[in-house]
């Protein structure tokens, strides 16, 4: 096992933002040999040429430019790797397909899973790097048994461990999260202290490849308008209205239904086969269990039911649950109290206090079964 403190060669995934820039500066200050890499996941030229304006996404050309300038400022080598084809296939195609299957995808987890900690980590290894470092707010601990544990970032508001539940032991062993023990405020202060040119830069937007956070426009431009339009119904099948595409709706959504009803209606589920959006009252939104698929255990996988906590979406407090491992990398999660808006396609991440035990992808809620 490598000593994580000696002078190492570290590849830093640089996005041009404050967090990854500070990550690079910190590691350099600690005496490591730092190499910056930006991933080009999108053919920006295509978009800039198409509408003659800047394509305002998180990893846009401007951000690669910023990353390059930070690398120059630090005096570290900097390279751009081309993952356009892989990102399209593994992240964007999955994103659109999930919506058209009536699910609500989480492309950031997929990007971590298939791009950053798979392809970029491979690039880092090809550069003979000992570690890949990112600006994620999460921590990696190495326990006495030799096992790596994934812990939340200490900044509650910034903790990004939810997006990292797919990491395997060998990935954690080769990864550094230097910002995990800091608050965003501290990181900004460090950025200013290092004199980084991006110290004042704002936060990146939600989904890097979706312009203006308008995912519906993105889907329609990719796949055509008004696909899967159909009826809005209640659980008993009563027709309440019409909709212009099931992909416009996500479980728990209240706005944009356009249905007049005595009490507020929420989306309970989407049935793409029948092209139906199923709605109901707030009380109907609660579920007491879910099935998770593609479960990854970072902690040792349990043989039987365990008491734990979980999050079924990023911006949520973790809630108490019981997790029952099932065959085929699946698990059943039972909530002690009913959970609102269990959304197929989102990630369910298992926690015990600060530690990420693992997680999986929400398969169905009671409305789809």
């Amino acid at each position: 096992m490598k000593n994580r403190n000696d002078k190492k060669r570290v590849v830093v995934a640089m996005s041009g933002g404050v967090d990854s820039s500070v990550t690079a500066a910190l590691l350099q200050e600690q005496g490591h040999e730092v190499i910056g890499i930006s991933m080009q996941v999108w053919d920006y030229a295509k978009f800039a040429a198409a509408d003659g304006e800047k394509f305002g996404a998180c990893c846009s050309l401007d951000d690669i430019h910023d990353a390059r300038r930070v690398a120059e400022q630090l005096g570290i080598p900097f390279y751009v790797v081309n993952f356009e084809e892989e990102f399209q296939r593994l992240v964007i195609d999955d994103f659109t397909a999930e919506y058209f299957r009536g699910r609500t995808p989480n492309p950031c987890v997929r990007c971590n899973q298939w791009i950053k900690f798979e392809l970029l980590l491979k690039k880092a290894r090809e550069l003979a790097a000992d570690f890949l470092a990112t600006g994620h707010y999460a921590r990696i601990a190495h326990d006495a048994s030799g096992r790596f544990r994934l812990l939340k970032g200490v900044d509650e508001g910034k903790d990004q461990s939810y997006f990292l539940f797919t990491l395997k032991q060998e990935q954690l062993a080769a990864t550094l999260f230097p910002l995990g023990g800091m608050t965003k405020q501290e990181v900004r202060r460090l950025a200013a202290g290092f004199g980084l040119r991006v110290a004042e830069k704002g936060e990146s937007q939600e989904i890097c490849f979706v312009p203006d956070d308008d995912y519906i426009r993105f889907l329609e431009e990719a796949c055509g308008k008004d696909r899967l339009s159909g009826d809005i119904v209640d659980r008993r099948g009563n027709l309440l209205g019409r909709h212009h595409g099931t992909y416009r709706y996500t479980v728990g959504q209240r706005k944009g239904l356009g249905v007049a009803h005595p009490h507020p209606l929420y989306v309970l589920g989407v049935d793409t086969a029948r092209k139906e959006v199923i709605v109901g009252g707030r009380d109907e939104l609660s579920g007491d269990r879910l099935i998770a698929a593609e479960v990854n255990w970072i902690a040792p996988p349990p043989d039987s039911v365990i008491e734990a906590a979980c999050k079924i979406r990023y911006r949520q407090k973790q809630v108490a649950c019981r997790i029952l491992p099932l065959t085929g990398d699946r698990a059943e999660v039972r909530f002690l109290k009913g959970e609102k808006a269990i959304t197929p396609g989102q990630a369910v991440v298992f926690y015990r206090e600060d530690e990420v035990l693992g997680g999986g992808w929400i398969e169905g809620n009671s409305c789809n079964e």
Partner: protein
């Protein structure tokens, strides 16, 4: 650093630096001014034009100085197209041209011109019979490169010029990579237009030239003052013009000796790699090739990883074409030549020049095989 990327750019030759620096110091002036300062630099510009014309086999009035090779290519293609009025709208080029030519043709195509892009064979050469067969009554221009920047393959430019002249069509030759490396004679090759770039042959970046033979109708790209006989507005880059002529003179003077020396280095580099690294493939025409260039595919390796590793080991080489972000794109040249995508993505261009020597060769050969082996194992 071991620099083996001369087809990207070259260090400025010390004698060139000596020749042009005075124009940044005492000998300043605007060539259009009528006072002494102006006259002095005007004379320097015209002398440079005469000398360059002498080397290229054309008349001084046929030389237009530009900001570089890309502007020269743009001026040639757009300038000829615009001057044709309604008489023709068809341009013939090849699939392996530099983006300066390909994207200019693409732009004209979007504006309604017809563009024929000739396929090339495995060596990167177009079929001349097919070239001739694609000429129509509306063909206004054949644009073909002298030598390919990625593989070094040399086109049969004299034969292309013959075909063009037989059909009374303009032949524009992008000679950016050939200039200073192999002999160029506009008259002999029947080129109507010929583009070159200073920084590929020991002059600084930001200077180039387009030869436009008498009788070729050309509209300017940059409108402005009456400079360059109304064919290129804007105050002349005096120091650059002086540098370009000086660099060409130096390159011309040592052409035979340097191409033997550099060609020898290149051949030993090629043999050295073939002997030490299994599963490599040389791309391009082994015989008709620039003496300084070799393009090699390393099976099972990503060029960007190989480039980065060589960079970290202090060796500067390149691969394919980089886009604005600096990311590598698959090479349109190798793809047109029918190189398998899996091999094309592991292709590296080594391009040697004046300052390379045996020690550079040894430095490269001592580091490259280990890197390739490690990448293949990972």
């Amino acid at each position: 650093m071991i620099y083996m990327d001369y087809n990207a750019t070259t260090p400025v030759h010390p004698e060139v630096l000596e020749a042009f620096l005075p124009f940044y110091r005492d000998s300043f002036g605007n060539p259009s001014s009528i006072h002494l300062a102006g006259r002095r630099v005007k004379a320097a510009v015209e002398e440079a034009r005469e000398r360059l014309a002498g080397f290229l086999g054309c008349e001084p009035v046929e030389v237009i100085f530009t900001s570089g090779g890309t502007e020269a290519d743009n001026l040639a293609i757009k300038g000829v197209a615009a001057a044709q009025g309604g008489k023709g709208n068809h341009i013939i080029t090849t699939r392996v041209e530099h983006p300066a030519v390909l994207n200019t043709c693409l732009y004209l195509e979007q504006k309604g011109y017809d563009v024929t892009r000739l396929e090339v064979d495995r060596e990167g050469l177009p079929d001349l019979a097919r070239l001739e067969a694609s000429i129509t009554g509306r063909t206004i221009l054949i644009s073909a490169m002298f030598a390919n920047n990625e593989t070094g393959t040399i086109f049969p430019v004299r034969e292309i010029g013959e075909i063009a002249s037989r059909h009374r069509i303009c032949f524009h030759c992008d000679a950016v990579q050939a200039a200073g490396k192999i002999p160029i004679d506009c008259r002999e090759m029947n080129a109507s237009l010929l583009a070159l770039s200073g920084h590929k042959l020991g002059a600084p970046q930001g200077i180039g030239a387009l030869v436009v033979r008498r009788g070729v109708k050309l509209h300017p790209l940059i409108h402005g003052g009456a400079q360059e006989r109304n064919r290129r507005g804007g105050t002349e880059n005096v120091a650059g013009i002086v540098a370009l002529a000086k660099a060409y003179e130096l390159a011309q003077g040592s052409l035979a000796a340097e191409s033997r020396r550099i060609g020898g280095l290149r051949d030993r580099l090629e043999q050295g790699i073939m002997a030490r690294v299994p599963d490599v493939l040389i791309n391009g025409d082994g015989k008709r090739r620039l003496p300084n260039t070799v393009n090699i595919s390393f099976a099972g390796v990503d060029a960007d990883s190989l480039l980065a590793n060589l960079d970290l080991a202090g060796i500067a080489v390149s691969s394919g074409a980089a886009c604005s972000s600096g990311v590598l794109r698959s090479s349109h040249v190798l793809s047109a030549m029918g190189v398998e995508p899996s091999l094309a993505k592991g292709s590296i261009r080594f391009s040697l020049g004046r300052e390379n020597d045996e020690a550079d060769l040894e430095g490269l050969l001592s580091r490259l095989p280990g890197i390739v082996e490690r990448l293949r194992a990972s």
